[in-house]
Symmetry: none
Subunit: 219 residues, 4 copies
């Protein structure tokens, strides 16, 4: 299902050793990206972090852009994996399932990785098409999970209305990152704020009617 189109140089990463190197390189790249931002993501820094020479890094990744692509795909794939796992575990009411899902996201926002990675991704997506496409694909898949549950909770909504609600749910939580993420000013209130945000979203989903989606004239 995950047709991962890896960007490392064709003919490399064939044997176990090379394959492992690639994994080390990508992990190192993630570390560097989170630590110093995209600005600090240099081939040299990645090579040093991975304990590899610059020449060798360029053997696996012919260009920095290729490395970035694989890096983004790897990190994003990781988030999707986590996501699928969570959903599989739930066997409760749709509300409870959605709440659990959103709670998981709030918790995840508190992790260092997520707090540091996503802002880089958001910024990158404004200047890099590849980053933009992959990011939106990630969010699309995440919203897909929400949409199923939203339909169960409020079956009267049209497909598009459901999608719009899913978008709001996703965006509202993402917006918390900068404020309650790891080491952020309100990280200690993450739980309270997260739960309250989720409550508001669940209420919105439950009570939404066609009227709420009507086009209104701007004054």
């Amino acid at each position: 299902m995950n047709k991962l189109k890896t960007k490392h140089r064709p003919g490399t990463g064939i044997y176990a050793k090379g394959n492992e190197r690639i994994r080390e390189i990508l992990t190192a790249a993630r570390t560097v990206l989170m630590g110093d931002g995209y600005n600090g993501l240099t081939m040299r820094a990645v090579a040093a972090e991975a304990g590899v020479t610059v020449g060798n890094l360029n053997y696996y990744y012919r260009s920095k852009s290729d490395l970035l692509k694989d890096l983004l795909e790897m990190v994003i794939a990781t988030y999707l994996d986590d996501f699928h796992e969570i959903r599989a575990q739930s066997e409760q009411s749709p509300e409870a399932q959605l709440e659990a899902l959103l709670s998981f996201i709030v918790d995840d926002i508190g992790s260092k990785e997520t707090t540091l990675f996503f802002p880089e991704l958001w910024a990158l997506s404004n200047h890099d098409d590849f980053a933009s496409e992959n990011m939106h694909e990630l969010y699309r898949k995440a919203r897909f999970e929400f949409e199923g549950l939203i339909t169960e909770i409020n079956p009267g909504l049209t497909k598009q209305q459901t999608k719009q609600l899913a978008l709001i749910v996703s965006a509202s939580l993402e917006g918390l990152t900068v404020f309650v993420g790891h080491d952020k000013p309100f990280s200690r209130q993450r739980n309270t704020i997260g739960r309250l945000t989720i409550k508001g979203l669940l209420d919105l989903i439950r009570n939404a009617t066609a009227d709420d989606f009507a086009h209104r004239q701007r004054r």
Copy 2:
């Protein structure tokens, strides 16, 4: 009131000519930052955009860091100015006032400047203390406007609860940037999604009780 501590080289920008150059430089820097991201924000690029030599740019800004500081302060100050203007114009019910304020923010999210600037700021704030402090000061002042209105709408809330609601309001809207911002995949649905998000937030504010803020044990 706005004690702007500019960072350009002391002794420069005194006459009209120099002062205007500084303005040109900052505008150019903003353009470059939004166009190519922080990564593309080089002294040479700014100088070229401003139609100035590198030497002259360094005459006004001794270091790139100083330039960035003034740039952030300028852009952030602009947002605060807009903000104060909006609030002054309202003489309606608190709900209507808050709705107007949030609608303004949603509209602003649709502007190219905001869509491109804030993700850079979020990313930067993870690696640069100055950016972090100024960003959070901006948001603090924005929330301050919300808090007054929230108190009027729901006077039963404690100070802290009000603050937490204001944070949720701010974060939920900011989160929309990546999805309904300028040239983003859902920018054409910005109005509908924005209004719906605002509705959910207003409902949350109206109906919030002390219970909603209670600490619940995590499993």
Copy 3:
């Protein structure tokens, strides 16, 4: 007698104010040269030290080279002035007079100014003709003082032999700078070492015979 051919821009330094500025600039330049070496002697550094703008500094000195020339001449002239003063005070035996003169030089070597200035001058003289000429003129004048006394002490020597002895006297003392100068490893033994060096030189002068100057074949 001192036909100081100042190098500052013609037409400047005419009035008292400008003249004083020039003095301030030269003092500042000397401070910078001694503090940071010739390498640190930049127009900007001198201007800052003198409390003057770069533009104004270039008004007085059209080029860095002109400033350096005046600086060298000023500092060297100062040394010559000191020198003449010393000699005038002596009314003792030639040996005592010479000893007093050399003692003065040893003391002077201990001063921060001399310790820092002369090595710069020696290095400069290898790459800058002007510096070389002025330096050697200074030493020539210094040796001239020695030569008169040496002749009195040992009248049997030819003119050239006297000159050669004067050169040895001068060089031997200058060589101490790097070792017993201000803040140098042996600065605390400056007195003992200086006196012993002087003793050796006086003995050499007293006992020198024509034989000592004979050309001997190498190997």
Copy 4:
């Protein structure tokens, strides 16, 4: 015995090719330093002289300071090597041995390399700790050679007195550099002046008594 702690980038200069490049670079750096002084010692100039790109120069030497350190150590080590060779060859009387040693130094002062290098070193040592330390270490080792011979010539001296005489010997010769060095005003009289200086020093050593080192009150 020579624990040369080279400062070039770790991981470089391993193969013959790289090692030779380093040698070329250091030679080029020496040439530039002697030709244009420390002031003219730029990375670009060294790279050009060595026939290497700036990038490649920085590959071997991460910083100019590292390059300077290796340069100083190399040149200084060369002088020490010469020194040790000379001493080994002598099997004559102590006076003759010392005279030979000092004659060698006088000859060396006449070489272009020494005439140009040492003044730079003296100036540098006033502003650069590394240069200062290495320079004084060089002189310390040189004096060590003298001290042994002085003790043989005049066994009645204390250790400290011997050391002071050695210092005078060293300083007196070094002081000649500026006057009788290569292309200096009195370079043609180097031999005569050198021999006479050496004679004075040998006499001083022979005749020195404890009295000469007594502390005398300054008037």
